[in-house]
Assembly symmetry: C2
Homo-oligomer: 110 residues x 2
């Protein structure tokens, strides 16, 4: 399924809005893992972790590949790029924070 740019941001931000999923991405940053390896540290069923992996996959943040009887999962970090760019648009606002405050205070005086 090909997603529009907005839909891709929807699914990426949604995927990131869960601590379990963010933790999975952190783990994958150190290398490939099987589903079982990913699941072990989490206090929930394998099926639940499998669902989280599915959410990450549908956001294209990871890729799953069969290797023998295992599914190996690896990070696809480049799918984060549009999200980072979307946010980066606003970085000028937090950088200019002090400037804005100054202007505001300037306004108050008059």
């Amino acid at each position: 399924m090909v997603k529009s740019s907005a839909a891709r941001l929807d699914s990426v931000f949604h995927a990131l809005a869960d601590p379990t999923r963010r933790q999975i991405l952190r783990e994958l940053a150190t290398g490939e893992r099987t589903v079982g390896e990913i699941a072990t540290p989490h206090k929930m069923s394998l099926a639940a972790v499998s669902k989280h992996i599915k959410v990450l996959e549908s956001a294209e943040l990871i890729a799953r590949e069969r290797r023998g009887s295992f599914r190996i999962v690896r990070l696809q970090a480049q799918s984060l790029k549009p999200a980072e760019e979307w946010i980066a648009f606003y970085s000028r606002f937090w950088n200019q924070q002090l400037d804005n405050l100054e202007k505001y205070l300037e306004g108050e005086k008059s």
Copy 2:
């Protein structure tokens, strides 16, 4: 309510995972707006937009202030910073994409 760093990422990423809310932030990037002004371009009730604004507020991405009989809403972009930093951790992966591909192909040869 003070949120943990993880909970703040949860609420910020969740707030961003909706196109209406992202659009509202874009509008606010050009300046303060009343709730009514924000609602007008959207094809949904004022109450629905009010709910979206509430979600953005609980993520601290905006601030609401009473001004006469209006509530004026303004961007609080600095709350995006932790989200951007979280993502930025992964930028090395998409920057090293070609390197990784090279290494992978190198491995295949042997």
